[in-house]
């Protein structure tokens, strides 16, 4: 009973953080000590360790399902939704708590958004973080280490704190722990998907966008403990790997819909930055070089990462096998170039392996789920009834 209350408390906190579009949590954190700074970052991945080592709060920005009044004026109709809601929140003051925003290289839309940011908010810090697409250690390593040192210098200037190697190693340790805790929950969900509901796991990850890593780690540990005391009924659902949602996030209702239609999501790419590095960053040695090298050696294979030698889709097939997925749902944001350009290659790869798949598109403000429910429901049925054929 006590554990149930603990779980309920975590769920309520996560839900409140998910709904905190005005960043009240960030304002409260900044108000606790004078001079604190918070920097937003767009999906998917930035080295949050560097910000943390400078005493800066990294704040993950993932758009919102809000009414767009001014945001549409900045983008063509054939552009995804997340830049519209981000601009909307920026111009309506929701993001005022931020002292700057980092735009990692993921697609042209996010790159252009970084340029617009510079023009619209010249007094705020704005950086386009050009993550390497060449993963060879020599040139790419040198380039990325230089890029990270520039970022570190920016963060030192902004915060007024020098980033010592020890501080950065401590930040690496905390984020390594964070990735470890997230992956443990992903493993547990794959093992007992009825026990770790995807909606809960998703909200936990979203909470990490706003909370300091120390607090988020404690929350993840508390959830793990609370969930072990829960007895949840195992349903006869199909096991699905969901892919394509690495940047613009689907509305919560869509995740609910997929789960309720008879699918257990046993792996996904929601809030992917939380586990974009698939191995821990070494905690000894040159911390900046370690961050760079781990990125080069252990970046997750996703649509916005250039893959030279291997076949696109191999990683998804491996993921499916490892998670005992019975099918794949390609769920990408409308007009998401990286996801949709990859999809033919990736779907061909799963098809070759005889893994059934279905596909649909969404936007972060999609409000009608009946058609998706019908599609995922019948997909789940077909796996359960005819999956062996």
């Amino acid at each position: 009973m006590k554990k149930n209350k603990a779980l309920e408390k975590i769920q309520q906190r996560c839900q409140a953080l998910y709904e905190d579009l005005n960043l009240a949590t960030v304002r409260a954190w900044k108000a606790e000590a004078p001079g604190r700074k918070a920097i937003g970052f767009m999906p998917v991945y930035i080295p949050r360790e560097i910000l943390h080592a400078a005493g800066i709060l990294p704040v993950g920005l993932m758009g919102a399902d809000i009414e767009i009044i001014r945001g549409d004026a900045y983008f063509q109709s054939y552009i995804c939704h997340i830049p519209r809601s981000t601009i909307e929140m920026a111009v309506n003051g929701s993001l005022d708590a931020l002292d700057g925003v980092i735009f990692p290289s993921i697609c042209d839309v996010i790159r252009n958004l970084s340029g617009m940011w510079k023009m619209m908010f010249p007094d705020k810090y704005s950086k386009y973080l050009d993550l390497p697409q060449n993963f060879t250690p020599g040139l790419a390593g040198e380039y990325y280490i230089a890029e990270l040192r520039t970022l570190a210098a920016d963060m030192e200037r902004l915060s007024g704190h020098r980033i010592t190697d020890d501080a950065l190693r401590e930040s690496i340790r905390l984020y390594n722990r964070n990735r470890e805790l997230v992956l443990e929950l992903y493993d547990l969900r794959a093992e007992k998907p009825w026990q770790v509901r995807t909606v809960e796991l998703y909200l936990l990850l979203r909470a990490g966008n706003l909370l300091p890593v120390e607090e988020h780690n404690a929350m993840l540990e508390a959830y793990r403990e609370a969930i072990e005391g829960e007895e949840r009924q195992a349903l006869d659902n199909s096991r699905i790997v969901l892919t394509g949602a690495f940047c613009e996030q689907p509305p919560l209702g869509l995740i609910h819909t997929i789960e309720r239609s008879g699918c257990y999501i046993v792996d996904d790419d929601f809030v992917l930055g939380s586990r974009f590095l698939t191995a821990p960053i070494p905690e000894e040695g040159d911390p900046v070089a370690n961050i760079a090298q781990t990125f080069l050696d252990h970046a997750m294979e996703t649509p916005f990462v250039y893959i030279a030698e291997k076949e696109k889709g191999e990683a998804l097939v491996r993921q499916c096998r490892r998670r005992r997925g019975e099918g794949v749902i390609f769920s990408a944001a409308s007009f998401c170039d990286p996801a949709l350009l990859d999809q033919p290659m990736v779907s061909a790869a799963v098809e070759r392996e005889g893994i059934p798949y279905t596909e649909f598109k969404y936007a972060e403000n999609t409000g009608q789920f009946q058609v998706i429910k019908e599609q995922t429901g019948t997909f789940s049925d077909s796996i359960k009834l005819w999956g062996n054929e």
């Binding site: 006869d236 309720r260 239609s261 008879g262 429901g377 789940s380 359960k384 005819w386």
Partner: protein, 295 residues
């Protein structure tokens, strides 16, 4: 031997059924039991133990489902522990005691084939939607088409019309069948059609002619759905409107007019198709999971 229950929550009622399935041999023959021998020559036996329909009447569907399940258990002389698999369908995915959920189309295909031997398609006409489902001999859905979210041509629409005309739902079919001069409805929009009906009433047109006109308008839409889904041969009507003899008559007439070789029939228990199908698929899944050691 497997005992499985199916619970179908629709927009106006809850349908509940319990089956005992024997000699299935663990194969997914999905309704080929109607005349097809599997399992080494021994024909699977699917026995309906109990079934019932409960109108929602503004009650909480989950509460109604729970009560209905208790009632069918009692009627079958079983306790909850005797049932190996409870399958939900329709809007039943929130039923707490379910083991699994199957989508409406999947269960109606199975239920239709259970009730109408050799059915190659099902036409599910409920309170809010209509779906044409084309399936193979094992109830595997090959193709489907459904109406949009517009209320026109649905059971709810027909209920409204019956109320305007002052007739009971039971009278709708016979009145339509007896009518000789159907009054043509000008459009498929529910709002405009209802306006038409009010005009017909004020002009003194008999209720039967109005109903037949509506049935023919609905039948036209449904036949187009069946055609688009690639339906041929025997078609089993399922869902709440399967009881409407006027609609069945109009469907067969329209199919004949369009020279489509469809034999459209409504089983007396056609409204139970979703619940029956859910229970039968549930029985299959139980056996499948049992073989895998995870039942």
């Amino acid at each position: 031997m497997t005992v499985a229950a199916g619970i179908d929550i629709g927009s106006s009622g809850v349908k509940t059924a319990i089956f005992r399935v024997e000699n299935n041999g663990g194969e997914n023959n999905g309704g080929e039991t109607n005349g097809v021998v599997t399992n080494g020559g021994e024909k699977p036996v699917e026995t309906l133990l109990a079934g019932r329909v409960d109108r929602l009447l503004r009650r909480n569907p989950l509460t109604v489902a729970k009560e209905a399940y208790q009632a069918v258990l009692e009627a079958a002389g079983l306790s909850a522990g005797d049932v190996h698999y409870v399958a939900s369908t329709g809007e039943g995915e929130m039923i707490e005691f379910r083991r699994g959920h199957f989508y409406t189309m999947t269960t109606h295909a199975r239920g239709a084939r259970y009730m109408v031997a050799g059915a190659e398609a099902a036409l599910d006409v409920g309170a809010l939607h209509a779906r044409a489902i084309h399936m193979d001999p094992r109830s595997k859905v090959l193709q489907y088409r459904m109406t949009s979210q517009c209320a026109s041509g649905s059971g709810q629409f027909l209920e409204n019309i019956a109320r305007y005309l002052g007739v009971t739902l039971e009278e709708v079919g016979p009145l339509s069948l007896e009518a000789e001069n159907p009054e043509k409805i000008s459009g498929i929009c529910a709002v405009l059609a209802e306006t038409d009906v009010i005009n017909f009433v004020s002009r003194g047109i008999p209720a039967g002619n109005i109903l037949r006109g509506i049935h023919e308008s609905m039948a036209g839409r449904y036949i187009r759905l069946l055609k688009a889904a690639g339906a041929t041969g025997k078609v089993a009507i399922t869902g709440g409107l399967s009881r409407d003899t006027g609609l069945v008559g109009a469907l067969n007439r329209t199919a004949a007019d369009q020279k489509m070789e469809l034999e459209i029939t409504a089983h007396p228990e056609a409204i139970m198709a979703g619940a029956y199908g859910a229970a039968l698929w549930g029985a299959f899944r139980h056996e499948f999971l049992a073989r895998r050691g995870s039942a």
